[in-house]
């Protein structure tokens, strides 16, 4: 596959990195409406990212929805920065139809900390938050129905955490352990079972 | 041989041939014709052009494991398919397939029994078939089966009414319930009842499609909703019985339609001199041909229409078909009473119905065109070719 990216490596133009976006009107508006919530703001590739206080996230979401017309919650997810503290970053994407633009809002959360749920503000965040809980183990306080969504109830790991091994873990869950042998194979009681010695 | 012996022979023939016809001819025809309509080939591997497909299906169904769910009501679960198939086969007894034919010295009629309450007998016996379906649905102890069984019970009971009412208007013309007498009467009047009974025929046909659980009324076994409906938990021979019952019911509905409305074994327009040459075709073949045309319509419907929803199906039956059938009875009765002892009233009625039919057909075409134009006008842009 590598040969497909054989385009000659010419001298690279230095690409502008992320710039501070504290002066961006959206960030200013958040600052004005909710003082002391914005931690930092940056802009990269035309995308504005605002980092806010974790406890204020629901209020920020409400402000963005009602005050700045970001009516559509595109996505909620998280990133596990294993070596940082606090460990997780919960990432929200909002879209405004009137501005035709997206804003990314992030907040940091330590392992075991609750993040206020925005499911009451945006209905579409419901399943996204469930998925984030399922995959990262970040609890959303005030979520109406915080159950696992992609893995099963009773699964005892959080697959997208960096310390979760790719090959999976032994969750200890077994279907009918009294009947199906550990390590797979036909049931002990199956009369057609062939034992290869 | 005496007539009695012939009766046994006919019964055996019917019971033996109808399932074979279902398996070999109708199912194959259905699959091949539907395939043709759906730009594919259909079964063409077993035997030349797939003609032995029925045999392969039979072998498959018979050798399949017959599963009874552990929590099923076992006796009823066993009984249900039998109940579905026996009434259907019984009802064949009164169908006149053709006029009596001379075999040796005896005249052998091509019907098992000419009962003077033939039509009533038919309605009564075929309506027993619903027990098979509802019991099968209930006894399987499966919610999908149960829903299918309930749908089926409601549907069959509802559509018996317009079906019976549509036949009443024909009875006014024949003054007999015997199917043989009905054919003879059409012969005598030189008028098939489909013409004065056009409305009745449509009501009968629509109800008939619903009675035999075929598209667009195949709700009891709507496979995309109820998995397979009442027969979800059936396999092997028991499933084959349900299958046979359903197809036999379809044959019976078609046979009755042909007998009552399309002159049974009669050739078309016997009074038109130009069509006299059609008389060389034996009456029995006419009958089979007409039944075949009906079954083709069933297949055609199946590959054309989407499925009705349950409440819509009920609304169609109760709000449209039953009032229409009742009104039709009154109209036909008036036509008969206005010209007592003659058939002129019925002939007029035939012309009126025919005219109405043509007018409605044209109107619906027009309406279709208008809605289409409206829809295209509402599209945001002209679509260039």
């Amino acid at each position: 596959m590598a040969d497909l990216e054989k385009a000659p490596a010419e001298e690279k133009k230095p690409r502008p990195g992320a710039v501070d976006a504290s002066g961006h009107p959206w960030v200013q508006a958040i600052r004005a409406a909710l003082p002391d919530t914005v931690v930092s703001a940056k802009e990269f590739a035309g995308q504005v990212t605002v980092v806010v206080q974790k406890d204020a996230i629901a209020r920020v979401a409400r402000h963005l929805k009602d005050g700045q017309d970001f009516k559509y919650c595109v996505d909620v997810t998280a990133v596990d920065w294993k070596d940082r503290s606090p460990r997780f970053e919960v990432v929200y994407h909002f879209y405004s139809f009137s501005k035709n633009a997206r804003i990314r809002v992030k907040c940091a959360a330590a392992d075991g900390e609750d993040v206020p749920s925005i499911a009451a503000v945006f209905l579409s965040a419901n399943w996204c938050e469930r998925e984030t809980w399922d995959m990262f183990g970040i609890k959303f306080s005030g979520h109406p129905d915080l159950r696992r969504i992609l893995t099963w109830e009773g699964f005892n790991g959080f697959p997208l955490r960096k310390d979760f091994p790719l090959e999976g873990i032994d969750t200890g869950a077994a279907v009918y352990p009294e009947e199906w042998p550990e390590g797979g194979g036909p049931s002990q009681k199956d009369s057609n079972r062939k034992v290869v010695s | 041989m005496s007539a009695d012996v012939w009766t046994y022979v006919k019964v055996v023939l019917l019971v033996a041939t109808v399932p074979a016809i279902v398996g070999f001819v109708i199912v194959l025809a259905e699959r091949r014709i539907m395939a043709f309509m759906q730009v594919r080939l259909g079964p063409n591997r077993v035997g030349p052009q797939g003609t032995l497909q029925g045999l392969a299906d039979l072998v498959k169904l018979v050798t399949k494991e017959d599963i009874t769910p552990a929590k099923a009501e076992k006796a009823v679960h066993f009984l249900a398919p039998v109940l579905a198939v026996i009434p259907a086969l019984t009802a064949l007894a009164v169908i006149p397939f053709g006029p009596p034919v001379r075999i040796g010295k005896t005249m052998v009629p091509l019907w098992v029994a000419d009962v003077n309450i033939g039509l009533l007998f038919l309605l009564a016996v075929t309506s027993i078939g619903v027990y098979g379906i509802i019991l099968g649905g209930w006894s399987s102890n499966n919610k999908y089966s149960l829903l299918g069984g309930l749908r089926s019970a409601a549907q069959l009971v509802s559509y018996e009414v317009p079906m019976g009412l549509s036949l009443v208007s024909v009875l006014l013309m024949t003054r007999s319930l015997s199917l043989v007498a009905i054919v003879r009467r059409q012969e005598a009047m030189e008028l098939w009842f489909i013409f004065p009974g056009l409305v009745a025929f449509f009501i009968y046909f629509v109800s008939g499609v619903a009675e035999s659980n075929r598209n667009p009324f195949d709700l009891p076994e709507a496979e995309s909703e109820l998995v397979s409906g009442f027969n979800t938990e059936y396999s092997g021979v028991k499933f084959a019985f349900f299958f046979l019952g359903e197809y036999t019911a379809m044959i019976i509905i078609s046979c009755v339609a042909v007998t009552v409305f399309l002159g049974g074994w009669l050739q078309p327009f016997p009074n038109v001199a130009a069509l006299k040459f059609l008389g060389i075709v034996p009456p029995f073949v006419w009958f089979l041909g007409k039944v075949g045309a009906f079954i083709f319509c069933y297949i055609w419907f199946r590959s054309t229409f989407p499925r009705y929803r349950f409440d819509q199906l009920m609304a169609l039956g109760w709000k449209w078909l039953i009032p229409m059938a009742l009104a039709n009875i009154v109209v036909v009765a008036f036509a008969i009473l206005l010209t007592p002892g003659r058939t002129t009233g019925l002939v007029w009625l035939a012309w009126i119905f025919g005219g109405l039919f043509v007018a409605m057909f044209l109107l619906s075409k027009l309406r279709q065109k208008l809605t289409r134009r409206e829809r295209l006008a509402a599209e945001p842009h002209p679509v260039e070719g």
Partner: protein
């Protein structure tokens, strides 16, 4: 279950009934009501119906737990995750180019658009320009894929409502499109047909002519499907007024794609935030006002016509040229994050890519349209009949590979 288990269950049940009979007898003796659970004929008795994961019309392994009163749905609870494969985890363990084949398996009836969204995210991170020819070919592949995805939708949702025949017609055309893909990249379903910075292959000789021929036939073919369905009374009865949702609610639920356009909001990422060369193409974003299943059907059919229109324009604009941009041999984007989204046949398909400066994505998150759209199913289904539920699953147009990832 084993026989032992069944017999145990039967014993339990027998014991339960015996207990109840005793209680009833005792109550009868003491003259009180026989049983608190006694139902009269007209009581509403809720039934729990397990719809799927093995069901002919859940389009995969979707499971819905329905509470029904007769056939009326009181509550529908989707239960997903049967097809979860940890795609997002896999992205993190492999280099950027190695992630592309994984995207094929998300929405497996529209692999090209998935490839595209993935590549777009990484390209945005890298800041690469795509050559014009590559852009046009990407759009062509996208639109062919949109056509084929909509054809699958048309066929299967027709079958859901009992109309079997359109399925075969739709698949006839889809087959041709798959042949085009096969000729282009060797695969029919899991295409892996795009690369970061461009395309893996140039078009084969005669490919554009064959596509043009196909496009010349297509409007008449779409007319055929419409003939069978659009003005069909039964089809209208089954779809008009079923699953009505307003544009405001669509936004609230995050519904995108044909669903939001069926509710009257002409929002299409190809228009709203054009990527590749969509801004210079002339097409209409079809919308309808009522937001019911019928309108979503019309919108999708119109989209097929528009796709054909876009394809024709792209084929005209094709000129020889480069198909790969200037991409370094080893892709090591700066330690940044981007979100890039495209209009997939189902709605907004986005990739959120976080890089830490190495050759593997630190985090790659998919914003799947089917997942978010499916969320609104309980809202759409409430109060409808079980038959309508089937129509609604069809009209949301989910692909479980994308829902469960």
């Amino acid at each position: 279950m084993t026989d032992e288990k069944i017999s145990q269950a039967e014993k339990d049940e027998a014991a339960y009934f015996a207990e109840r009979a005793q209680a009833g007898a005792a109550a009868a003796r003491s003259g009180t009501a026989a049983s608190p659970e006694a139902h009269t004929l007209f009581d509403v008795q809720e039934m729990e119906l397990n719809f799927g994961p093995q069901h002919p019309s859940t389009h995969g392994v979707l499971r819905l737990v329905l509470k029904v009163d007769g056939e009326k749905i009181l509550e529908a609870k989707p239960d997903i995750g049967y097809l979860h494969r940890g795609t997002e985890k896999l992205f993190e363990t492999e280099t950027y180019p190695m992630g592309i084949p994984h995207t094929d398996r998300l929405d497996y009836v529209a692999a090209a658009t998935n490839n595209h969204a993935f590549c777009l995210a990484v390209e945005k991170l890298l800041g690469v320009e795509i050559p014009r020819r590559a852009q046009l070919i990407r759009v062509i592949l996208d639109e062919l894929q949109r056509l084929s995805s909509h054809l699958v939708w048309l066929g299967t949702s027709g079958i859901d409502l009992g109309a079997v025949t359109p399925f075969w017609y739709a698949f006839r055309e889809r087959e041709q499109i798959l042949d085009f893909f096969e000729e282009y990249c060797g695969a029919r379903l899991t295409l892996n047909c795009m690369r970061i910075g461009g395309l893996p292959f140039d078009l084969t000789a005669g490919w554009t002519e064959r596509v043009s021929e196909f496009l010349a036939d297509l409007p008449a073919r779409i007319d055929d499907y419409e003939q069978l369905l659009t003005d069909n009374r039964i089809w209208k009865k089954r779809t008009v007024g079923v699953g009505v949702i307003s544009a405001e609610e669509c936004v609230e639920w995050g519904l995108t794609g044909p669903i939001i356009r069926g509710s009257g909001l002409a929002w299409d990422l190809r228009r709203a935030q054009p990527y590749e060369c969509y801004e210079e193409l002339d097409f209409v974003v079809p919308t309808r006002q009522n937001g019911d299943t019928y309108d979503r059907y019309i919108v999708r059919v119109q989209e097929m016509r528009q796709s054909a229109r876009i394809l024709r324009q792209c084929l005209e604009k094709l000129e020889p040229g480069e198909i790969r941009g200037k991409v370094p041999r080893v892709i090591k984007p700066p330690a940044e994050e981007v979100y890039a989204s495209i209009e997939s046949p189902k709605g907004e398909l986005g990739f959120y890519c976080v890089s830490n400066g190495t050759n593997k994505p630190y985090r790659m998150h998919v914003r799947p349209p089917s997942f978010i759209n499916l969320q609104a199913l309980p809202r759409l289904a409430k109060g409808h009949l079980v038959s309508d539920l089937v129509a609604l699953i069809g009209t949301i147009d989910i692909v479980l590979g994308e829902v469960d990832r």
